[in-house]
């Protein structure tokens, strides 16, 4: 390879690494994808003059045009909420490509070193599984495949299939060549494994699984990079493989489930919850997420209730407020007339924390402002933000004026669990589409929000 091509690949690899690094902070994320994009363009262009590339230019351009064009078109028009399945789709395509590269090299039947052959076969297996698995993930999320496909002994069948496939791979590696029949069976089995692994999984676990396939595709790409002696592929693939693995773990952790749980025994068991979400379920949120949401908001309204008093979270909440104010966010406190357990309960606490009077508003003053608030942060309030008081004539609190928190663009509710308020009734606010539950003690969660924002 010429010095020039090598240097270009090297640059691309560096750009990818820095791009990914920047993507891991909200402040620089946008710059990150642009850097990585530049690396990609550079690497692609340079490949046209790669010494091994000597034919099929037209086909190549055609394929890039079709594949890229369709992807562009679909990527541009997909709704924000459908992003996960698109990621699955594109990821599967990458896995497929890696597998196809392996196929070409294996079909070619050129002599390969033992290690290289092994990597080629391994990459083929992983890439194919990621391909078919991602396709199924796409299908399920997109609603094309609806039924959760489950039967007893599933795990065992998968294990047998997997063993056979690995065995076939071993045969090829040890024999030093890829018998076309074995190769075909090998690929078919790998496709089936991907399908069978993914079919039983429910909607809630999908993001984790997609992330896993993403890491696998990265690995496959890295392995094929070794096969093709292409360092840009090698490095980008491995970096993604490693980063993706960590990310999968983090995502599983954020869902409060050990990764093994997601991966094996409970695969798919929470499918029901996934469905529930659509009808309005309690949707938990991480403090770090909630923190970013508020940090990038223009206007935040904080609604404290009895729970803030119980948690003695007033000082933290004020610190949070100051942090947000420092970032230019407008923060207002909305005090309901009967929040807490005595008249003026919230006032006493906010005054103790040093919240100035001029950002404290009562119900009449603030209620019209909720629709313009990006985030309403409800901390330990319940009855006073219960829309049933407005909407449900059968409710025991019907007729009580409430803070119209539900009209804010996003609602974050801090409470410890499913505890009811003073009146002991359910609160539909918590099930609303725009509501996320931040479970935990008020003071601890306020601290967590503070840390999250400080980290930005």
């Amino acid at each position: 390879m010429s010095w020039f091509i090598q240097a270009a690949y090297f640059t691309a690899a560096v750009l990818f690494i820095f791009g990914l690094k920047q993507m891991s902070s909200p402040v620089t994320a946008r710059r990150g994808i642009i850097w990585a994009g530049a690396g990609m363009v550079l690497a692609t262009l340079v490949t046209f003059v790669h010494p091994q590339v000597h034919a099929n230019y037209l086909l190549m351009i055609l394929a890039i045009g079709i594949g890229g064009g369709l992807a562009w078109w679909s990527g541009k028009r997909v709704a924000m909420t459908d992003m996960p399945q698109m990621i699955a789709l594109y990821n599967g395509m990458g896995g497929g490509a890696a597998a196809a590269i392996a196929a070409v090299e294996l079909v070619k039947g050129e002599e390969m070193e033992f290690v290289v052959l092994a990597l080629a076969v391994l990459g083929a297996l992983i890439g194919t599984v990621a391909f078919s698995g991602s396709a199924i993930a796409f299908g399920k999320l997109q609603g094309l495949i609806r039924k959760a496909f489950r039967y007893s002994g599933q795990q065992k069948v998968n294990l047998v299939l997997f063993s056979v496939t690995v065995l076939l791979g071993l045969i090829m590696v040890i024999s030093g060549q890829a018998n076309p029949v074995i190769l075909t069976i090998f690929f078919i089995l790998a496709l089936v494994i991907g399908v069978l692994m993914t079919l039983p999984i429910g909607g809630a676990d999908m993001p984790v699984v997609i992330s896993l396939y993403n890491a696998l595709t990265g690995l496959a790409v890295g392995f094929e990079g070794f096969v093709l002696q292409n360092p840009a592929m090698m490095i980008a693939g491995i970096v993604v493989g490693s980063a993706g693995t960590l990310l999968t773990q983090l995502m599983a952790k954020a869902m409060n489930r050990p990764i093994s749980n997601v991966l094996f025994s409970n695969f798919g068991e929470s499918g029901g919850e996934g469905q529930g979400e659509v009808q309005g379920a309690l949707k938990p949120i991480e403090a770090s997420d909630a923190g970013v949401m508020m940090a990038f908001a223009d206007k935040v309204i904080i609604v404290p209730g009895y729970g803030m008093a119980v948690a003695q979270a007033q000082h933290k909440i004020w610190e949070l407020t100051q942090l947000l104010q420092d970032r230019g966010v407008t923060v207002k406190f909305a005090i309901h007339p009967v929040a807490g357990r005595m008249p003026g309960h919230m006032n006493v606490l906010l005054a103790e924390a040093g919240v100035p009077y001029d950002i404290i508003y009562d119900l009449d003053e603030i209620n019209s402002e909720f629709p313009t608030a990006d985030v309403a942060l409800v901390i330990g309030a319940n009855d006073v933000v219960n829309p049933d008081a407005r909407n449900n004539p059968d409710s025991p609190i019907y007729g009580m004026p409430i803070l119209n928190v539900d009209q804010a663009k996003n609602v974050i509710v801090i409470k410890r669990g499913k505890g009811a308020g003073f009146s002991g009734i359910e609160n539909p606010l918590f099930y609303a589409d725009n509501t996320r539950m931040l479970y935990g003690d008020g003071q601890e969660m306020a601290s967590a929000l503070i840390s999250a924002i400080k980290e930005l």
């Binding site: 891991s24 990609m40 034919a55 990527g75 698109m86 196809a100 491995i238 490693s242 980063a243």
Partner: protein, 96 residues
């Protein structure tokens, strides 16, 4: 490239990947997944090489699909990531 050098590169790249991600807020999980999905779109380069030295029709067909899929990965990954990261555009983001 000899095996151990490959291993070193593997180790270092894996370490790099891990470190780069290690402190990422939950809100970035999905964009980052999407972004890394885009990065392995570099498979396009490999696919082009595979197609570029494909000789038989079988090879060419497989190679064609490899490039097609890889291009989809790269382009789709970029577009989707870019769109997701739109939301961090706010000028306020640059403050801290």
């Amino acid at each position: 490239m000899e095996g151990f050098v490959a291993l070193y590169i593997f180790m270092l790249a894996a370490f790099t990947g891990y470190e780069v991600i290690s402190k990422v807020p939950v809100i970035l999980h999905t964009p980052l997944m999407s972004g890394s999905n885009f990065v392995h779109g570099i498979v396009l380069v490999g696919a082009m090489v595979a197609l570029g030295h494909a000789d038989t029709t079988t090879e060419m067909v497989i190679g064609f699909f490899a490039v097609l899929l890889a291009a989809g990965n790269a382009v789709g990954g970029y577009v989707v990531t870019e769109r997701m990261l739109e939301m961090f555009k706010s000028s306020k983001g640059d403050k801290s």
